[in-house]
């Protein structure tokens, strides 16, 4: 039986998120009813490539109020032990809410066009 490329893709992703699915699984091995056996698998999906502008955080200016953490719709602000550590660009869609809700007087987040970072990535990848 040949699988459609869509089913193959689904299986591949499913194997990534669910170790119980065998490598040679077919569509019959997919959970019945579209059940997703594990929670939080979306955390393996990067939405950062939607971004056209990027938040840049100043650790020095930050007063750790956590408004960015609260109002980011994409759970991109990392907080450890009650301290903001920075932004996870894997998920950040570049909406600009964080820069907007950061207290005006503090202004610890600035949005910059993604183009400004083109060279950084070239260096990293190279």
């Amino acid at each position: 039986m040949t699988l459609s490329s869509q089913t193959k893709n689904l299986l591949k992703v499913h194997q990534d998120v669910d170790p119980d699915i065998k490598p040679n699984a077919g569509w019959r091995d997919l959970p019945i009813g579209g059940v997703i056996p594990q929670g939080g698998t979306a955390s393996q999906f990067a939405t950062g490539d939607w971004r056209t502008i990027r938040p840049v955080w100043s650790k020095e200016k930050c007063i750790n109020c956590h408004r960015c953490w609260l109002y980011c719709p994409d759970m991109a602000w990392i907080s450890e032990d009650g301290k903001i550590q920075g932004v996870d660009l894997t998920y950040c869609k570049g909406c600009g809410i964080c820069a907007n809700v950061c207290p005006t007087k503090v202004h610890a987040i600035e949005m910059h066009p993604e183009d400004d970072f083109k060279d950084d990535e070239a260096v990293k990848e190279g």
Binding site: G40, T47, P73
Partner: protein, 308 residues
């Protein structure tokens, strides 16, 4: 609760969901779920939230999650809660579990209203949350009974024949209060502290609870993505979306703007009201302002608060 402490609690909703950049409801989910202490079971009516957060085989939910059709999340969660009570009686479960049903305004005000009413009347111990973005945004920005008067939608297009939606939104929060359930509240994702407190009260209620939470849709409201929180705040500051709670029949105002903004100031932020600022629609703007003022006075009376 201070925000840095709130951030120490593990989150039940992850990034990597496919809602628009700058969407309001993930913020609503975050605030409400951070207020839950027990394990939670979430049911979600069809709508933006369900569609964008559970694209197979991805799910942004770290808790049990059930997708239902548009009209029956309250019925589904009634069944889940009843099954839980039975299992508890039989001694098969000993844990306290919190049940939450999420529906958009389409799935709550319109399509799911009868199943919601039934679940509340039967007294199931669950919290129903309407994330209200004032229209059918997922299917292409059609009007719902929560859409404000004058809003441009694809089924009430503003043009020469029609200045946007002709009707006022219905007062669903009052309808739910009329069910005489233990707890009903209206909140906004812009006022996190108020919403967090209300979610806590809803979870602690001895029976059904209902939260109506304003959640910006930047696509349907035609607002800039970075303004999502500001626009929701504006709705509260101009009394279009007052914050209040009804506890065992007692109406209580949660917030009173020092000096209410004109409704036009809030509308100006949103493309869906652009046509109202043409000179031929100025009368309608005034009419809407009068209605908002009247509704506000009526709410103050219900809450036993003196107006100016």
């Amino acid at each position: 609760m201070a925000l840095p402490d709130l951030a120490k609690k593990p989150q039940r909703f992850t990034g990597g969901h496919r809602a628009c950049a700058g969407c309001g409801f993930p913020i609503t989910i975050k605030i409400i779920l951070q207020a839950a202490e027990n394990p939670v079971v979430v049911g979600c009516a069809t709508g933006c939230m369900e569609v964008t957060s559970t694209i197979y085989p991805y799910t942004a939910w770290r808790c049990s999650f059930i997708h239902t059709a548009f009209e029956n999340v309250a019925a589904t969660m009634s069944g889940v809660e009843a099954a839980y009570r039975s299992l508890r009686r039989q001694g098969k479960i000993n844990q306290d579990i919190t049940f939450i049903a999420f529906g958009g305004d389409g799935g709550t005000y319109d399509i799911g209203l009868q199943s919601l009413s039934g679940a509340m009347e039967r007294g199931h111990k669950l919290v129903y949350v309407c994330y209200n973005n004032q229209g059918y945004m997922n299917t292409g920005i059609q009007r719902s009974s929560a859409t404000p008067r004058g809003a441009n939608t694809t089924t009430t297009p503003a043009g020469t024949q029609l200045p946007g939606k002709p009707q006022y939104p219905k007062n669903l929060t009052a309808i739910m209060a009329a069910h005489d359930i233990p707890y009903v509240a209206q909140a906004s994702m812009s006022h996190w502290n108020d919403l967090y407190r209300k979610a806590k009260k809803a979870f602690a209620a001895e029976g059904p609870a209902f939260l109506n939470v304003l959640s910006t849709c930047r696509l349907g409201w035609a607002t800039a993505p970075e303004d999502t929180v500001d626009v929701a705040e504006g709705a509260v500051q101009c009394n279009v979306w007052p914050l209040f709670e009804v506890e065992k029949g007692n109406w209580k105002l949660s917030f009173k703007p020092k000096k209410p903004l004109p409704v036009a100031d809030w509308m100006k932020q949103q493309g869906r009201f652009k046509h109202l600022f043409r000179s031929d629609n100025s009368q309608l703007l005034e009419t809407i302002q009068q209605q908002v003022d009247e509704d506000w006075q009526r709410l103050l009376e219900l809450c036993g608060v003196n107006g100016e």
